[in-house]
């Protein structure tokens, strides 16, 4: 008894000395004192009062209360644990748990009545869909997991909880279907998460950098999504999803290049229209990357690839422009990038004004002043608009950077420079692997069926999962089994 008291005092002193902003509620009983320790900013005070303090107070003060008794008969909290390791008290408090410390018992109770302020489930902001569901992830891991679990009611869904960050101890959930996902991929991801040695992570973007093969990665090799339906779709395909507390973006692995050009609406719309949109995105991606370089190559080097009437017309429209095409293109691309970046950062109300000012200044005034040619403005606008077409914006980012290299190479050596840079980029793309899957699959190594399915997609037509994912279960649905509606 005395030793329990001493221990109890010692723990309280230790916690008070650390200035962890821990609140204490003492309850006295015949046998001793119970201290309720909690951090008020992350504890549900109402639940604390109703489910812990009130029942304790209502309990008879004549009898001795042990920690086990408190769990079994007194407190009303659904998730509580009995602990004896005193060193874990601080970490439990910091995790948002409430501690019941007994002066007459070496054990203590850990209660889960956490309450962190979080926002309501929003609509997706960057991955908008017409026909698909409109719920998106938020920063709370539990809420995100609830969105996934409400869609996937299968016993083989695994949710492995891990923690990263010595100071932040950020919870991370690794989700996969045990009988579908490739073990190598799952183990690799879990290993890489386990190997992270850092003081803290604040977003899934930072986590992503630790999970990739190389330190320097230009092309994205993990998908990101803020949508629960896309997450579930990825899990059903046999992929592994990593959700981090504090980030509304889930990471999906492995993800190949062609998948960045898919959007969720492709799955919900008529398959022919979905195909049309996919092809449109491929064209848009190519246009956004090469159209400015083609302009430079044709105007500066290879004018005779155009019909004569076009050449003369272009020459007439550029007759007042003082810059050479390379400088012209680089200037206007820089301006376009500046406008794009400023529109992200600026408050919405001013954003519209910037868009109008940018359009007027660059569009009208620059052409009227003869600073830029009208054709170039069309070319760059086309490039800019095309860059917004792919659903997953992360695939455009490397091309935004590489575009400048391509422009400079083309401006220096014409189509020779253009071809060489394209070759280098292609070589890098085909040499990439994303968690053991070739990045350019199914284009190379070529698989005809997967390639067709990546263009013309319909779940009804594709009972098999893509071969390049090397899943354990190759079939989405067994062949010749009719899909029965159970509800």
């Amino acid at each position: 008894m005395q030793s329990s008291n001493l221990r109890y005092e010692k723990i309280l002193n230790r916690i008070n000395n650390k200035s962890m902003d821990v609140s204490e509620r003492k309850l006295s009983f015949k046998s001793g004192t119970i201290s309720i320790l909690f951090i008020k900013q992350i504890t549900d005070r109402a639940a604390l009062s109703d489910l812990v303090v009130k029942p304790l107070m209502q309990h008879s003060t004549d009898t001795q209360i042990k920690a086990a008794d408190a769990i079994d008969r007194i407190v009303y909290v659904d998730n509580c644990m009995l602990e004896t390791d005193d060193t874990k008290i601080e970490s439990c408090l910091l995790d948002g748990y409430t501690i019941l410390l007994f002066s007459s018992d070496a054990a203590y109770v850990v209660l889960d009545i956490k309450k962190v302020e979080k926002r309501a489930i929003p609509e997706p902001e960057t991955m908008y869909t017409i026909r698909g569901p409109k719920d998106a992830f938020i920063e709370d891991l539990d809420t995100n997991l609830s969105l996934v679990r409400s869609r996937l009611r299968n016993e083989s869904l695994r949710v492995d909880q891990m923690e990263v960050g010595q100071r932040t101890k950020t919870p991370i959930a690794v989700l996969y279907f045990e009988d579908v996902a490739n073990n190598t991929c799952v183990n690799e991801i879990k290993k890489r998460i386990g190997d992270i040695d850092i003081d803290g992570l604040s977003s899934s973007g930072e986590l992503q950098t630790f999970l990739l093969n190389r330190k320097i990665n230009l092309f994205p090799q993990m998908g990101i999504t803020e949508r629960a339906d896309m997450t579930c779709g990825a899990l059903l395909e046999g992929k592994v999803v990593v959700i981090m507390d504090g980030s509304c973006w889930a990471l999906i692995a492995p993800k190949v290049f062609s998948e960045y050009l898919w959007a969720s609406d492709d799955f919900y719309l008529n398959k022919f229209f979905g195909t049309f949109l996919r092809i449109l995105r491929v064209i848009a991606l190519n246009l956004s990357f090469i159209v400015s370089s083609l302009y430079v190559a044709v105007i500066s080097f290879h004018q005779d690839v155009l019909p004569s009437s076009y050449v003369i017309s272009i020459a007439q429209s550029r007759s007042q422009v003082p810059f050479n095409p390379l400088i012209e293109v680089i200037l206007i691309e820089l301006i376009a990038e500046l406008i794009r970046e400023s529109l992200i950062r600026v408050p919405t109300k001013i954003g519209t004004a910037i868009g109008i000012v940018g359009a007027i200044i660059i569009g009208q005034a620059a052409v009227a002043a003869g600073v830029f040619s009208p054709l170039l403005l069309i070319v760059v606008s086309l490039s800019l608009i095309s860059s917004f077409v792919p659903a997953d914006y992360t695939i455009i980012d490397p091309f935004r950077v590489l575009k400048f290299f391509l422009i400079i190479a083309t401006g220096t050596f014409g189509f020779l420079g253009f071809t060489l840079v394209i070759l280098i980029i292609l070589a890098n793309l085909v040499s990439l692997n994303t968690f053991g899957v070739p990045y350019m699959a199914p284009a190379t190594p070529f698989n005809f069926k997967d390639f067709i399915k990546s263009v013309v997609y319909s779940k009804r037509m594709a009972p098999k999962r893509p071969a390049y994912l090397r899943t354990k279960d190759k079939f989405r649905a067994k062949p010749n089994i009719k899909n029965k509606s159970n509800r």
Partner: protein
Amino acid sequence: MVNTITNRQMFFILVLTLSAYSIIPLANRMAETAGTGAWLSLLVTSLIFMLPLLGIVYLNNLFKGKTVFDYAPKLIGKAGTYLISMYYVLFFLLFLFYLVLEVGVVLNADFFPETPLWIIGFICIPVFCYISNKGITTVARLCEVIGMIFIITGILVHVLMITQGKLNRILPLFSSAEIENYVRGIKPAILPFIPMSLLLTIPFAKQNGKKSTKTAVLTILFLVFFYVLVVESCIMKVGLNDIVNYKDSLIVAIRDTAPTFFEFFTRLDILYLTVGMTGLFMGVIVIMTVILEFVCRMFAQVKRSVISIALGVMTFSAYLILIGISDFDIFILDIEPYLVFVSAMLIPSILLIVAKLKKVGKQGKRHAV
């Protein structure tokens, strides 16, 4: 992990390497010798080379996942292996120098007349080295992507040329009085097949199976079709008597084509400048990769990137020297039949015969199944 290629990749590697540069002067060389019967000379030459190709494919299938450097010691001993490796390295080096020089000359003559020749080599060779350094798997995948686009664009362009050309220019297709010319036409038709033996350095994937033989046959048949298409379309467009005046007959013929029904695409140069050049470079890159693979196996202790840089420096130096030599291409064309005979026929035949005599084939077959 051993870098292996699939059947499909083998097809594209062969198509790009064997055709990318050789189709440029092919039409004028065939027109000079075989005249309107060029198609026949090409067909006969391709059929002649089908046999050695099948032999090489058979060897590769016998020793799946291995290159000649790996299985030759079992057959002909280490000394013999080094001997043939040295031969192949020198052979492919010579061909690489020829190819790089010709690529530079073509680009300078047809598209970049003001750019000094040495600059073209200076910017292209490091890029080739960089890509070939990435390994045979990367190069094979690249060939798969680029090869498809190259073939589709090539067929489209040549069909357009046929629609714009004059049929009379390729007639008569056969004349018994010209048979001697058709036979003479076999020698220039050997040029596309020079690098055929590169397959010996590229290991086949285990899942290739017997389909690789079928793929090899289809590759040759496709190449026959493609060469005939190229040559005949060029002759139809430019004319038999005039085409002999151009060294780069393909490019001249493409520039001559102006399909008016495509308002925007009246000039097809842009397709050659992008797709054609990419295919051309891929052919050089494959040869460079093959040399790199050979040399890396021979000097396993040296880092691959060091060998790659050394190869690049050597290639550029040779390029600078050969710019000053006017008849290097004639020299190559004169000795090519002998080189090809040794590299594509003699050495693989010896290896095959020894493999059969030593009954490695039986064991090999068991593993293959």
